[in-house]
């Protein structure tokens, strides 16, 4: 199996979780990593904050920006972030389950375009966002990774995710990045591996 994109969804507790996950991704991580962190409408500095914890360049995409490997993309505040065949798309459709950006919206769009080449990761969060999207990734044959609800700071999202799909891996937070590195770096067939 070759993977082409990693999508990550998190909510309450996510800032801390991302501070663990992002710095542990290999500096030569070969795929694009797209992150939805639930956020308020006035959280302008999240991107700069997270960049300090990421060796990979981290940006909030503009509409129609290309999706490049080895970069981290953060969904901007007050927009849904979707992926399409030739780049990102943003939307101001209504919030989904009170969330904009919504994890489900990102995951579902990724599953449609990247199908079995998608890796979906659900981390800590106090609601159920991400479960439906992860189920769609699973339905297309993608890889589903969930933070272990037992040790997650907030168990709601991981619990909902493991209830919705048979996850391929349920891991404590510290093991998620090493798992992704292993999965994506050492894959001879990985389309971006050099």
């Amino acid at each position: 199996m070759t993977f082409e994109i990693v999508v990550v969804g998190t909510s309450f507790g996510g800032l801390k979780a991302l501070q663990t996950l992002l710095p542990a991704l290999a500096p030569n991580f070969p795929l694009p990593v797209v992150v939805v962190q639930h956020r308020g409408k006035e959280t302008d500095t999240l991107c700069e904050f997270l960049q300090r914890h990421s060796a990979l360049p981290l940006t909030e995409p503009n509409d129609k920006d290309a999706i490049a490997p080895g970069r981290v993309y953060l969904a901007p505040r007050d927009y849904h972030l979707l992926v399409e065949r030739d780049g990102f798309a943003l939307s101001t459709e209504a919030p989904v389950a009170y969330a904009r950006p919504s994890v489900n919206v990102l995951f579902e769009s990724a599953a449609e375009v990247y199908r079995e080449h998608t890796v979906g990761v659900v981390l800590t969060g106090a609601n159920a966002d991400g479960a439906r999207g992860l189920a769609k990734i699973k339905a297309y044959g993608g890889m589903c990774v969930v933070e272990d609800p037992a040790s997650a700071e907030s168990k709601g999202m991981p619990r909902a995710a493991v209830a919705a799909v048979k996850a391929d891996a349920v891991l404590p937070l510290a093991s998620v990045a090493p798992f992704l590195n292993q999965l994506c770096l050492h894959e001879p067939g990985s389309s971006y591996a050099s």
Binding site: D63, K64, Y79, E84, S91, E93, S109, Y140
Partner: protein
């Protein structure tokens, strides 16, 4: 369902959606064929769930034979959920950098393209009134959906949103009490009708209709994010042709001119907010 079957079904659905959009265009003249695919698919499937219809083909039957069903789809495709003074700094920058230019004109024509349910139209009307410009302005607020325009014309918004809007208003450089501009009535507020005396609400389709005037300001925020790149180019040409020399274009926070052929014809007014001035 196996992953392969799932993929087959998605392909079939994509074909059905293309057929639906082709039909919508040929029968009613609304052209969504160059919309960005991910979002339009979401919206169509959402409408289908609301109408309790299982396949896009069955939905097409309904849309093409039932005008009311088509209108509901049109609303579903044209609503974008915004707030008053969305991105307050945009309005603050508008006050600081655009208002002084507008003061020099005897009359000001503003086109709010894709105004949806009107939140940002009323925001601009309030801003212009506070700057003493409203009387000499005409705001043309357009959208493709009659139903959406009806709501915009009413100027009725949920009371529950007012806390957020008040905060936005203050960050946008508001000079009064925000509550001066509306009257609460049960769970809703109605904005004072004086705010719309110089607003013309009208149907206009950015995709198929041409330019209808020359404007000093065009606001088209978070509208073209639903278009593919080819359609964005066409609409940027329309906007360029509709702006007077030194006219101002306002886009959404995450939009840019960089993929358009008109990029070199504007200068940026602010490093952060997406306000551009036509310079050639």
């Amino acid at each position: 369902m196996s992953a392969a079957l799932q993929s087959d079904q998605t392909q079939l659905e994509d074909i059905e959606i293309a057929l639906l959009l082709e039909g919508l265009y040929r029968v009613y003249g609304f052209d969504f064929r160059d919309y960005s695919p991910a979002s339009i698919k979401r919206r169509i499937l959402e409408r289908m769930r609301a109408e309790k219809i299982a396949t896009v083909s069955a939905y097409q039957d309904c849309v093409l034979h039932d005008g009311a069903c088509m209108e509901r789809l049109l609303v579903g495709l044209s609503v974008h959920v915004t707030s008053m003074f969305r991105d307050p700094s945009f309005y603050l920058t508008f006050r600081q950098k655009v208002v002084p230019m507008l003061r020099t004109y005897p009359t000001v024509r503003i086109w709010h393209a894709g105004c949806s349910t009107g939140e940002e139209v009323y925001s601009m009307a309030i801003l212009l009134q506070e700057e003493g410009l409203y009387r000499k302005c005409v705001i043309y607020a357009t959208d493709i959906s009659r139903e959406v325009l009806r709501k915009a014309r009413e100027g009725i918004f949920p009371l529950a949103s007012m806390q957020e809007y008040t905060s936005n208003y203050m960050h946008a450089g508001g000079k009064h009490e925000f509550s001066d501009y509306y009257t609460a009535h049960y769970d809703n507020v109605i904005f004072h009708p004086a705010l719309k005396t110089n607003v013309v609400f009208s149907e206009h389709n950015l995709v198929t209709d041409g330019s209808f005037n020359e404007f000093h300001v065009i606001l088209c925020r978070n509208v073209m994010i639903y278009f593919n790149k080819a359609l964005q180019e066409r609409v940027h040409n329309l906007i360029y042709e509709s702006l007077s020399m030194f006219g101002v274009l306002g886009l959404g926070n995450k939009e840019s001119l960089k993929f358009t052929p008109r990029a070199d014809f504007y200068e940026r007014l602010d490093s952060r907010d997406k306000l551009y001035r036509k310079v050639k």
